[in-house]
């Protein structure tokens, strides 16, 4: 059996009309089933553009120069319309206010199913399932314009999930939210990844609260994919900027520096510490400290 990646980008290039610089330049990568990919990059580096190529919004929605090929489950999407891809790929956008339009939360979730002419009973069943999954019971009859930003994003996620697509894309979905709701949403996404096996691609500014769920990081700079792979690998890539380190890792690096690679500690101890994987999350850091204390 040959391995087919869930998502495959081959030399994807895009230049917006009236823009002299390429927004994407020869981007290549493959995402496997069940991956949780975090797309990282400075503001304006092409994160959104990259995500929009995944369901054909680029090039279909934006005029410009497009090159390369995007394959989902081994099939090129070049000939497919964005609307038809809704069954394969669920997309959640950044601005909670500008992606909802239905009368109630429930009908927002039903919308994609209606588009695909699913029979009414089936819609009912699926909508109820999603409402239960995302705990939306309390707001299901409310207008999507009368709920909090976090609830709006959950509604958008619910709607994207309606057709049960195997891939979910989140374009800075939490950036308009308060930290507490953002963390809640990320947890939900991680749950979908872990429990339902959804392949997730997410772009984000906040790394610290996400890295514990992430299997791969993609770092993009001026439209070029500079690093891609498991988090620790990418952080050590020379292309990856120190500024985009997770706070915890950066604290660790600083600690390492002031202790001269832990040389101020006894040799046995030092080896022990260096053997502990570099911390990316708070839990990792605790492990590291523990390692420092209980080394025998």
């Amino acid at each position: 059996m040959t391995y087919t990646p869930v998502i495959e980008l081959k030399n994807v290039t895009f230049k917006y009309k009236n823009c002299d610089k390429f927004a994407l330049e020869n981007v290549n990568f493959q995402v496997a089933q069940g991956d949780f990919v975090l797309l990282v990059g400075y503001s304006g580096s092409g994160k959104s553009t990259l995500l929009k190529t995944l369901n054909g919004l680029i090039p279909h929605f934006y005029s410009g120069l497009f090159g390369g090929d995007v394959k989902l489950f081994g099939e090129s999407i070049a000939e497919k319309k964005t609307a038809q891809l809704a069954k394969t790929i669920g997309f959640v956008f950044q601005n909670p206010e500008n992606q909802l339009s239905a009368l109630t939360v429930e009908r927002e979730i039903a919308f994609p199913l209606e588009n695909f002419a699913i029979p009414r009973q089936e819609i009912r069943r699926r909508v109820n399932e999603i409402i239960a999954l995302l705990d939306l019971e309390k707001i299901q009859d409310k207008s999507p314009f009368a709920i909090s930003g976090g609830e709006q994003q959950l509604t958008a996620i619910g709607s994207a999930l309606a057709l049960d697509p195997p891939i979910l894309v989140f374009d800075e979905t939490t950036s308009h939210l308060s930290p507490q709701s953002a963390t809640k949403i990320i947890k939900k996404i991680a749950e979908l990844n872990r429990e339902q096996g959804k392949t997730v691609i997410l772009s984000e500014h906040r790394l610290d609260r996400n890295l514990q769920y992430v299997t791969k990081i993609a770092y993009i700079e001026s439209g070029q994919l500079k690093a891609f792979g498991p988090p620790r690998e990418v952080l050590h890539n020379k292309n990856y900027p120190l500024e985009l380190y997770p706070r915890i890792t950066s604290l660790y690096e600083q600690l390492k520096k002031v202790t001269d690679n832990f040389a101020i500690l006894p040799e046995k101890h030092r080896k022990q510490l260096l053997a502990v994987p570099e911390p990316l999350t708070i839990d990792d850091f605790l492990l590291f400290i523990k390692g420092g204390r209980e080394s025998v």
Partner: protein
């Protein structure tokens, strides 16, 4: 100087009070962050500082003057206010013109305008964007330009609503450093934010607004350690503090957090050394 004296506000007679007896005083050159849940009245409060809203009861004083009768156009000379969403204010053909719009309205001489635009653009590292249309920029860049377009007016008091929204680490750092510089020049900076790490790094004072009332006002180091306050304001514990709290719990030590990165590193260096020496004794 900004001073609120028992300010009450409601949008219409029938509606409930949005602000319920707000009193605080910010002296010149202070950096103050206002935190609170969405809908707690933060933006309503900000609008009072520049007279976009007038208190239904109580008084707002700016630089020792009650501003009840002052027109916004006059207040705009002293107070700069940037709203949350940059799309609500960007309109000019180029970033340069956008930055010059405020100063022009204030009647600043042209040379001075140009000087301000250049200075701010350099400080924010957006000189390369000056000839671009603000509508072409990315979200983070737009946010930066919208803040810069208020800063060029050179007022003594700056009010910013969620200035770090959608900005990456590099932009945040630049903004924070710049705001600190302003403080050193005696400019007062008052922001609304959810970005707790940004507060801890740059803002010594925090005011917590819950349901139209101030429930805490003081040193950010202290306030941000208060679990209940953080919960009530819909914030998250700063990473720096969360690590230390967990470590304290794990090692059964007293939780005495370091609140800056430098202190943090020193502290953990000591922890490691201690552990090593204890083992040495064994």
């Amino acid at each position: 100087m900004i001073e609120f004296r028992d300010v009450y506000f409601r949008y219409a007679k029938k509606n409930p009070d949005v602000l319920k007896g707000i009193s605080f005083k910010i002296t010149d050159g202070e950096l103050v962050a206002l935190v609170g849940k969405n809908g707690a009245g933060k933006t309503t409060l900000l609008k009072h500082i520049i007279g976009l809203l007038k208190p239904t009861k109580g008084e707002v004083w700016i630089n020792n003057e009650n501003i009840i009768k002052k027109p916004i156009s006059e207040l705009a000379q002293t107070v700069g206010l940037a709203f949350q969403n940059p799309n609500h204010q960007l309109f000019a053909e180029t970033v340069e013109k956008e930055l010059a719009f405020g100063p022009k309205n204030l009647g600043m001489p042209e040379e001075e305008q140009e000087r301000m635009v250049q200075k701010i653009a350099e400080n924010f590292n957006i000189t390369h964007l000056l000839q671009k249309s603000p509508l072409e920029l990315s979200g983070g860049e737009r946010r930066l330009v919208s803040i810069a377009s208020v800063l060029t007016m050179g007022q003594k008091i700056l009010v910013l609503d969620e200035p770090t929204f959608g900005q990456d680490y590099r932009q945040k750092k630049r903004l924070g450093t710049y705001l600190c510089d302003l403080r050193n020049k005696g400019i007062t900076v008052f922001i609304v934010t959810h970005d707790i790490d940004f507060i801890l790094d740059y803002f010594p004072r925090v005011i917590v607004l819950v349901d139209g009332q101030i429930i805490a006002d003081g040193e950010s180091k202290t306030i941000l350690q208060d679990e209940l306050l953080i919960q009530q304001a819909d914030l998250e514990k700063p990473i720096l503090l969360e690590i230390q709290e967990k470590v304290a719990k794990m090692t059964n030590q007293e939780y005495l957090p370091a609140t800056s990165e430098v202190e943090f590193i020193e502290k953990f260096k000591d922890i490691l050394l201690q552990a090593a020496s204890q083992e040495g004794k064994k």
